[in-house]
């Protein structure tokens, strides 16, 4: 465990991020009348995020706990911090290019976005249930505000309100679960929970203790499930994605989900001693497996009927969470690495897909009619993102799914074979609705009134910058896989 000074040295990325948030606040005030204000604000945000990346690069490695065991500083935390920096930088760029965010409110948008990023980085490293809850609130609060950012649209208000109500309820239920865990194990430390459970398993704690633990985990799962949009806690997802600014949805659909998975990995793998089968006498793997089946099946089946591309991608992102929970249920080191790898690819393809929707100038399927002749770059990159989300070679999504399914099959038990088969069937369903969008873009003719879609040069460059790696990682994924192999240590 590191003392306060060493802790602060390893906490430098978050300190830089906090300073950036304050800098944006001040620059926003000082440059109020400057015509160049939007570029200035985006510049400050990007410079701050680059400095954060630099700080992350320069922090001494070596796994340790920070601030009296509140935060873990390990490979998992470092990988996800880098992930969030990249996602936030893309979020800033998308915001700069968006016409949904009023230029006079860009500063406020960035402040909320970066506060959210700070929460994500804490969520991925929290080692204590109190810290975990605080980080979750720091993620949720800006999310509510950003969902209601387009205040002139009734759907945005509805989305924000639903999000607040669901979020509040999920937080409350999760806190109740945490209080039960504290009551039964006597500790808020996630690593302490494991020790208490091992002791209890030998000492025996009776049926009531067992039942209490099961309830505690199920209630805590409500909070995590809400963040990653797992069934049955997914109901907010399509409405919020539809009402929130597309540019924010691109971020929302990727980064908080990844943080939710990082927290879930720590909670289950460290706290509840997976993969030790039936730790504390309960089949965690089966519980997670059943949630995974429900999540991917519902997401994929409902997505088929959508004709609003934002809602379609919302259900698709529910389904994607299902595949990831499936690997999480396995809980081996191999499975965790597969989850990390898939999330890395998911960042590229899902943010890319939502950026495509942002640029297309409409969210109905009809807005994409004949896109191939109206803007070829947009149509081709969008097709790459969608096919990658399906998991077809030679795109990155295929490699990601391959690793996920390999991890599930390597367990070699009937339940996991069934899980993998259901996962593959689900992928087949998903091809239908992803291909539907591609068909509309390439095979349907543009009708009268569908003009050329103007995409600025920087936006096209950004699209290509996301599509390039999506293709490249599909054939040459070794660099990222190696990085994750080196950086997947988890502090237990």
């Amino acid at each position: 465990m590191a003392g306060t000074t060493e802790s602060l040295a390893r906490f430098a990325p978050e300190l830089v991020l906090s300073a950036t948030i304050l800098a944006i606040l001040i620059v926003d005030l000082i440059a109020r009348l400057q015509p160049k204000r939007p570029s200035l604000l985006s510049g400050v945000a990007l410079v701050g995020l680059s400095a954060m990346a630099g700080a992350l690069w320069l922090t001494p490695t070596g796994d340790t706990s920070l601030f009296t065991h509140l935060l873990a500083f390990d490979g998992l935390a470092r990988y996800f911090k880098g992930f969030f920096i990249l996602a936030a930088a893309l979020g800033v760029l998308f915001g700069h290019l968006s016409d949904e965010i009023s230029r006079s409110r860009l500063g406020e948008y960035y402040i909320q976005l970066l506060c959210l990023t700070l929460g994500l980085s804490l969520l991925a490293s929290a080692q204590n249930l109190l810290m975990l809850y605080l980080a979750l609130e720091l993620v949720s609060l800006p999310s509510y505000v950003l969902s209601g950012f387009r205040w002139w649209d009734r759907r945005a208000s509805e989305a924000a309100l639903k999000y607040v109500v669901f979020g509040g309820a999920a937080s409350g239920v999760m806190l109740y679960g945490f209080s039960l865990i504290y009551g039964i194990t006597g500790t808020l430390q996630i690593d302490g929970v494991a020790a208490a459970l091992t002791a209890a398993a030998t000492g025996g704690q009776g049926i009531a203790g067992q039942l209490g633990l099961l309830m505690a985990v199920m209630l805590s799962l409500a909070g995590f499930g809400y963040k990653v949009a797992a069934v049955p806690f997914h109901m907010w997802c399509p409405d919020v994605y539809e009402g929130a600014p597309t540019t924010f949805v691109a971020f929302l659909s990727v980064a908080p989900k990844a943080a939710g998975f990082a927290a879930l990995i720590r909670f289950f793998v460290v706290g509840f001693g997976q993969p030790a089968p039936g730790a504390a006498g309960f089949p965690w793997a089966e519980i997670l497996g059943i949630i995974a089946i429900g999540t991917m099946t519902l997401g994929n089946v409902v997505a088929v009927t959508q004709d609003n591309v934002k809602r379609l991608l919302a259900y698709s992102s529910i389904a994607q969470a299902g595949y990831l929970i499936m690997a999480l249920a396995v809980g081996t080191d191999e499975a965790i690495r597969a989850v990390m790898l898939y999330l890395g690819f998911y960042l590229l393809m899902n943010m890319g897909a939502f950026f495509g929707v942002q640029l297309a100038g409409g969210e109905r399927l009809s807005a994409f009619r004949g896109m191939a002749s109206r803007n070829a770059t947009l149509a081709i990159t969008m097709a790459i993102f969608l096919f990658s989300l399906t998991g077809i070679p030679p795109f990155a999504g295929f490699i990601g799914k391959f690793y996920l399914f390999a991890a599930v099959l390597s367990v070699g038990e009937p339940f996991f074979y069934a899980l993998a088969i259901i996962g593959v069937l689900n992928s087949a369903i998903s091809l239908y609705y992803y291909a539907k969008v591609v068909r509309v873009m390439f095979l349907d003719k543009a009708e009268e009134g569908d003009g050329v879609v103007e995409v600025s040069r920087p936006a096209s460059a950004l699209l290509l910058a996301l599509a390039g790696p999506t293709l490249l990682f599909g054939v040459w994924w070794a660099p990222l896989a190696d990085l994750i192999d080196k950086a997947s240590s988890i502090l237990r």
Partner: protein, 206 residues
Amino acid sequence: MSDTLVAVVFYGLAIFTLSGAALVAFSRNIVHSAFALFATFVGVAGLYALMSANLLAVIQLLVYAGGILVLILFAVMLTSRIDEARVSNHAWGRQPAAWAVGGLTAILIYVAVKAPLKAPMIKGALGGPAAFGDALLGPYVLPFEIISMLLLAALIGAVTLARGRDAAEAAKLAKPAEAAAPVQAAEPAQAAEPAEAAEPAEEVNA
């Protein structure tokens, strides 16, 4: 205090708090709900005092019952037409929900009574301002500082959402179709979504 007396006071406070909370949730009049919230806050303060967390009890009274509740009442009274909320999503499946909640409550009561709880029972000195301050700036300094970022985000968020809504800006940003839609139009988001019907589960809590 003897254990029996503590138990009697605890159950009294718990019933007081819970009935306040039930009134908040079930009252159809939002002003009544706000006043019932007062009972809940005071009850929780009583629970803190019972655990000899005196400072926390006082803060709970001052900040929640004294400050936040008054703010909520102001917000309720200054908001026009707050009583005329139209229910657009009707409750679905109340009976199964009641069964599920009842079952869950029964299990949780069983667990609370029977499970061997390990959390240390804190006696005495916890409640003093000195101990509280030491904890806040000692082991819990990081959460304490992070809360300041959370409050900053909340403050800016509140200003962002409540700031003057200037019509010119709206006209410039809104898509023509959305801007032209009359405010009274029946739920455009839902009317336009035939897919909602395909998934009844969506409507449970909506």
